[in-house]
């Protein structure tokens, strides 16, 4: 590594740290209904939206109503994107005259964008019209991210309220997040990206004769507006097939830096917002610290692995699947950030990463997307681990577990375990099914242990709602489109529903008075415990599978085996 590469990593961490309280404070004001500099501009629009939709912003919901509203709203999103893709040939803004998308692919993509996964079985430039990308995918990029924040806000209220039945209003949480947070940030990022060379046009693809007189087709489209929210909303589904490695989606190292920062920006800032909302900024920083520790551990292993020597080629720091303008360091930093956040966009091909760098990417996802994680989803996922940590710590010292002055009881622990086990079960069981069926194995792009890694990565990505891939696996088959679609649904809603149930149950509880026996959750000891629990739970669940995939592959690579 060169000095300027180290400087880039340091700058990245610096900006992430510096922007966390700034954006975090802003979001706290927005979510508490306070006055921000955007209020004079957006408040009239917000009120108009409630009036047009027939929503009373002052009515609060019980947790079951909140779940119901969330599910209906998401289901509408799914149906619209599903149908829109299949009839895109009859809709406007389709200059390439692309045909309607097949039903299984449309199912997969609609589920994928509703659940904030944004897995790419589709190839944007050859299968989706500008209409579908704008009115289907871009819209879901906003709304799925806002849904994640809404769930987090409901949980936060649940943790802070005393003896109340309600946990907020889903519509209000959704509208405020979209209007005050996602739209302004996407707007800023889109303009920065435009300046760097990301395309934004309704013209059809360019057909040209190159300098050497070959025919080349250059796909264009309204990409900047979509890519901005793709990164800000931890979505990750590319406008173009090669995602952010494609130069018109991510043209310069600076556009790369902006996009990479956006991967973690909102999830990191939400920890600060959380701290303010629970009235103890330390609680927020403790979670931020645990996330940062996990992130840095992954980054260091990944850098070490990727700069390491591969006896198969005799080369260290391979450029296979990477772009020259980003080089090895930025590719590894991105790969770590995009899998820590449940973003899943890529600027280099994860399939070609060295075995251990690929393992880190996969493990980041398997831990439940809690290392900053998805917008909203990362933090509510981490709070599930907080509950489990408090519970285990309580068991160890023989006291009733408490968090933020409330007792954690059997119901919360059961719901937390459900939220942790459901996605893990899907990842392992579905991978196992793929490993023993022809339909699962015929899609493999690589042989040997790397083949297992491709399958494992695909289901981790779907179950964890990440969306990145070991893209050698041909996922656009009936088997994978349906299986991955189901995995995404379970990975999303089998977490959201238990989280909201916890929110409802906690809101109803009374204060447990603070005593000398209360376990502190706002100090360094708790950070260490939380990190340990996250790694142990993930490690115990996935170590056997990982040892047959990337770990064996690493050993065989050192011995010079090829497949």
């Amino acid at each position: 590594m060169h000095l300027h590469e180290v400087v880039q990593i340091v700058l990245y961490l610096f900006f992430l740290l510096a922007l966390t309280p700034v954006l975090g404070l802003f979001m706290a004001k927005v979510f508490n209904g306070g006055h921000t500099w955007l209020t004079p501009l957006l408040r009239p629009l917000e009120k108009a939206i409630y009036r047009l939709a027939g929503i009373d912003e002052n009515t609060e919901m019980r947790w079951s109503t909140y779940v119901w509203a969330l599910l209906i709203f998401n289901f509408i999103g799914f149906v619209v994107v599903f149908v829109m893709q299949m009839i895109q040939d009859k809709l406007p803004l389709n200059p390439q005259k692309l045909p309607g998308v097949s039903m299984v692919l449309a199912f997969n993509t609609a589920v994928s964008f509703m659940t904030n996964t944004n897995w790419q079985s589709y190839a944007g430039e050859t299968s989706l019209s500008y209409f579908t990308q704008m009115l289907g995918l871009t819209v879901q990029n906003f709304l799925s991210a806002a849904t994640g924040v809404a769930v987090l806000l409901a949980l936060t209220r649940g943790l802070t309220r005393r003896s109340l039945q309600t946990i907020g209003n889903f519509w209000v949480d959704l509208v405020r997040t979209t209007l005050y947070v996602l739209l302004p940030l996407a707007f800023i990022l889109a303009i920065l990206l435009l300046g760097q060379g990301v395309v934004q046009t309704f013209s059809p693809s360019l057909h040209i004769q190159t300098l050497e007189s070959h025919t080349q087709i250059i796909p264009l489209g309204p990409a900047a507006s979509q890519i901005a929210i793709k990164q800000m909303g931890t979505n990750g589904g590319g406008f173009f097939n090669a995602n952010s490695s494609y130069p018109l989606e991510n043209p310069t190292p600076l556009s790369n830096f902006f996009q990479m920062l956006s991967l973690l920006l909102i999830p990191a800032a939400l920890t600060y917002t959380y701290g303010i909302m629970v009235n103890s900024r330390r609680q927020g920083w403790v979670i931020f610290a645990a996330m940062m520790v996990l992130f840095l551990m992954g980054l260091m292993v990944s850098l070490w692995a990727e700069y390491g020597y591969n006896p198969v080629t005799g080369i260290a720091g391979s450029m296979e699947g990477k772009e020259v303008r980003f080089g090895v360091t930025n590719s590894v930093l991105w790969a770590t950030a995009t899998t820590a956040a449940s973003n899943g966009s890529v600027n280099a091909m994860h399939d070609s990463l060295s075995p251990l760098a690929g393992l880190v990417a996969m493990f980041n996802i398997m831990l439940g997307e809690v290392i900053f994680g998805g917008v909203g989803a990362g933090l509510y996922g981490m709070l599930i681990f907080v509950i489990i940590t408090v519970f285990i710590a309580g068991l160890m010292v023989g006291r009733t577990p408490e968090y933020l002055g409330k007792k954690i009881e059997a119901f919360e622990v059961k719901m937390s375990m459900l939220a942790v086990i459901a996605p893990s079960l899907v990842i392992l069981v579905f991978s196992a099914i793929a490993c023993v069926t022809d339909a699962g194995l015929s899609s493999l792009g690589n042989k040997g242990p790397h083949g297992l890694s491709e399958i494992l990565y695909a289901f981790s990505s779907a179950g964890g709602n990440n969306g990145s891939a070991f893209a050698g696996l041909n996922a656009n088959t009936t088997f994978y489109n349906i299986m991955l679609g189901i995995a995404m649904l379970i990975g999303r809603f089998a977490v959201i529903v238990p989280v909201l149930a916890i929110a409802g149950s906690m809101a109803n509880k009374k204060n447990a008075p603070f005593s000398a026996g209360t376990f502190q959750t706002d100090n360094a000891t708790f950070v260490v415990l939380l990190v340990a629990i996250v790694i142990i739970v993930g490690g115990l669940t996935f170590f056997p599978a990982l040892s047959l995939g990337p770990i064996v592959e690493h050993l065989l690579m050192l011995a010079g085996h090829v497949f």
Partner: protein
């Protein structure tokens, strides 16, 4: 049911806001403030569109600088990579291929970006070292005299892009722009 109607209406409003108004405003700003970038950073030579500055092209003639290997032969419909895993037999095969291209050189001197395919399949850049390796061949094929060869060297050094603001990214040279300029050498 009340929630269903609210949800439908809200969904429609949000679609108009985030799916129509927002992208149209960005398109407007792009077309007015950054028209060159928003339309694909097109390069014209003698009045003809010859490609995008940002999208790499296929060069097979020995008269030109060659770009990186590409899994899609530089035709991005769709864009993509080889997706060879670290123990794929595809990697040593790629090395074999490269050895043939650079017969006269010790292939260990060839930088990694020249040996292996890019992520997008249309990487427009090469590392400066990978471009320098090709100067002798190009000068020879074009029958250049010593001072003309020196012009290639100067041109290349002039076109090297250092890390953005001295910090971001890697040193590189744009193969398409380099070849356009190469044709101007008299």
């Amino acid at each position: 049911m009340r929630h269903l109607f609210s949800a439908l209406r809200l969904f429609l409003i949000m679609t108009v806001l985030t799916g129509i108004i927002y992208p149209l405003i960005i398109t407007g700003i792009g077309q007015i403030v950054f028209p060159r970038q928003a339309n694909g950073s097109i390069i014209t030579v003698d009045g003809k569109i010859k490609g995008s500055e940002l999208v790499g092209q296929k060069f097979i003639s020995s008269r030109y600088f060659w770009g990186r290997p590409s899994a899609i032969d530089y035709n991005p419909m769709p864009s993509g990579a080889t997706n060879f895993g670290p123990t794929s037999v595809g990697l040593p095969n790629a090395l074999q291929q490269c050895r043939k291209q650079f017969e006269d050189l010790d292939w260990r001197a060839v930088p990694s970006d020249m040996l292996f395919a890019s992520g997008s399949g249309v990487d427009p850049h090469l590392s400066p070292d990978a471009a320098r390796l090709q100067i002798n061949r190009i000068a020879h094929v074009r029958g250049f005299r010593v001072e003309q060869r020196q012009k290639i060297v100067d041109l290349m050094e002039h076109l090297i892009e250092t890390p953005q603001w001295g910090i971001f990214g890697e040193p590189r040279v744009n193969v398409f722009l380099l070849n356009v300029a190469l044709d101007q050498i008299k």
